[in-house]
């Protein structure tokens, strides 16, 4: 498809004299999952809120399926779905009533709204609990309902702002599968996340932003290679050999300092040739190994080398960018 599902040009936004976005350009194709990564306060949520017509940009332009978010907000709202950081569903009524309400607000007739609710409840495994009040739901169920609520209008563009924060692994995997299916059906998905693994597993394209500007963009693989070199993993056969192995690896040409973690040593190496060199040196030092592998750095490691700090989950107490609170 030639027209991008989402396009922004030079988006800027300040809150209380603090620059949150400084000229962000973004392009997302239909049917793809785009991961927006960055530490807390990087401006991720602000991007989503601008595109979802909840916040006006100070300058720049943003289009969703060719509709201008500033001059045609109602037309943008017709084609988007939004799942924010907090499940935005009504806890005091049932899941079925929630979905019915949104269907009606989207202009569906009662019969159509009821049919769409049932369809989504089935698809999201909520049919059995459909009549219970949402406040009795587990966190995972609530998130699933929240996602279902975003999909009532069959949006062409879906915004997922940290959709799996606080979910257990099983619920997270379940949600990931659903998001993949949506993209496969042609929905453009803009996903913000602090979980690098999430972007790695879901997104075809990733953008890292920090202080409101793009610091890196590409496929997860490209981003990892941006971090430079590769990672060598070595597990000595005898746990007691860890220190000896570390000193051997540390002497290899062009390597970083080996990091031991649970009997496993990881060390950054320039290329695959290092594997042979490592194997030879370990052998001549008399250190047998049970595992020797080279891999690309994880997005987390890439993130560290791109932004100079870890993807930060320590500051979650900080106020949300642009939130109404």
């Amino acid at each position: 498809m030639d027209r991008p599902a989402i396009r922004t040009e030079g988006l800027t936004k300040s809150f209380c004299a603090k620059r949150v976005l400084s000229g962000l350009d973004l392009e997302i194709a239909a049917g793809t999952i785009f991961g927006l990564l960055g530490p807390n306060g990087a401006g991720k949520t602000t991007v989503v809120r601008i595109l979802a017509t909840l916040v006006r940009p100070d300058s720049g332009r943003a289009y969703v399926l060719g509709r201008d978010v500033v001059s045609q907000p109602q037309r943008v709202r017709e084609v988007i779905g939004l799942t924010g950081q907090y499940a935005a569903v009504d806890n005091q009524i049932s899941a079925r009533e929630n979905l019915y309400m949104i269907g009606r607000l989207l202009g569906l007739r009662p019969r159509a709204a009821r049919a769409r609710s049932s369809q989504l409840l089935d698809a999201f495994g909520l049919a059995d609990a459909a009549a219970s009040k949402v406040k009795d739901y587990s966190g995972g169920m609530r998130r699933r309902l929240d996602l279902a609520a975003s999909l009532v209008g069959e949006p062409g563009v879906l915004f997922l702002d940290e959709p799996t924060t606080g979910l257990d692994l099983a619920s997270r995997n379940q949600l990931w599968d659903m998001i993949r299916d949506l993209a496969a059906d042609g929905t453009a998905v803009l996903l913000t996340t602090q979980y690098l693994e999430e972007a790695d597993r879901l997104a075809g394209q990733v953008m890292v932003i920090d202080h409101g500007v793009t610091v890196a963009q590409g496929s997860p693989a490209e981003l990892k290679s941006l971090a430079g070199g590769q990672v060598l993993e070595v597990r000595p056969l005898r746990p007691g050999d860890l220190a000896a192995a570390a000193s051997v690896l540390g002497k290899l040409a062009g390597t970083s300092r080996p990091i031991p973690e649970g009997g496993l040593l990881t060390v950054q190496v320039p290329d695959e040739a290092a594997v042979t060199a490592a194997a030879r040196s370990l052998d001549s030092a008399g250190v047998p190994v049970s595992h020797l592998a080279v891999r690309l750095p994880s997005l987390d490691e890439a993130f560290l080398s791109i932004t100079g700090h870890h993807a930060d989950v320590c500051e979650t107490g900080a106020p949300l960018e642009g939130s109404a609170r």
């Binding site: 037309r75 988007i80 939004l82 309400m101 607000l105 989207l106 202009g107 109404a324």
Partner: protein, 250 residues
């Protein structure tokens, strides 16, 4: 379109009430409790007999009940803002006013329910209606109109204040002194002069006098006209304030 969206939002808010036994009991039992307490505790002391006081106080209690009942409007709207739900509504292609209008519509239905309960109970206790059919229709209309005006005042508190606790406290601090320092529950004649001056301009006095005129067959034209003027003024002012504040905050 906006009308049907308001209907959807009103339905949602009524579902909250219907599925919550506490709220149902609150809006049904609280008016009864006020009626019985005021009539049997104060009645003899204030009017010489409970029967006479019942005649006097019922119109005032209806007005007070509307005041206390509509604090739910403030709390409900405030709660919508606390959760992420308002973001969902704002990202839908719906009229912005529908969220507030739906809340007000549902709360007028609650107000009507509470008023019916208290009037029904008063009739059983011996309240005698002297206003005739026009009085009854007028009183019913005034209750609804007053409900609308009070809902807008409370809606503003709901979107203006941040926490539900401050909303609750503010609602109480507005309604309590306004209803007590008025002619709603006690004739103003025995109050000190400075207080009487306040009672005279207090809109609750005007509403209570208008209700009395309609229900008991006293002077009607002037208090009702004054009441309507207050209702129109309050609704316009607080309606505009609520919607503009809602836009700013949301």
């Amino acid at each position: 379109m906006t009308l049907s969206q308001t209907g959807v939002m009103a339905r949602r808010n009524l579902l909250h009430v219907l599925s919550d036994p506490q709220q149902m009991i609150g809006m049904s039992v609280q008016p009864l409790m006020f009626l019985l307490l005021f009539v049997y505790v104060f009645g003899g002391a204030i009017s010489g007999s409970t029967r006479q006081y019942l005649q006097f106080v019922l119109p005032g209690l209806i007005v007070q009940g509307i005041g206390f009942g509509t604090t739910q409007t403030a709390l409900g709207l405030n709660a919508d803002f606390q959760r992420g739900l308002i973001d969902r509504f704002r990202s839908l292609p719906m009229a912005r006013s529908a969220v507030v209008a739906g809340r007000v519509t549902a709360d007028i239905a609650r107000t009507a329910w509470s008023s019916l309960i208290i009037v029904g109970a008063a009739a059983v206790l011996g309240f005698r209606f002297h206003g005739g059919l026009p009085g009854a229709l007028g009183a019913a209309g005034l209750v609804l109109a007053l409900g609308v005006a009070m809902c807008w005042v409370m809606a503003f508190l709901g979107v203006w204040l941040r926490s539900p606790e401050s909303v609750q406290a503010a609602g109480f601090m507005v309604i309590m002194p306004l209803t007590f320092a008025s002619s709603a529950l006690v004739p103003a004649a025995s109050m000190p002069g400075w207080l009487q001056a306040f009672v005279k301009v207090n809109p609750i006095t005007i509403f209570a006098d208008a209700m009395r005129g309609l229900m008991l067959g006293g002077p009607v034209a002037i208090p009702v006209l004054q009441a309507v003027a207050w209702i129109v003024g309050l609704s316009a002012l607080f309606g505009a304030l609520t919607v503009s504040w809602y836009r700013r905050r949301a």
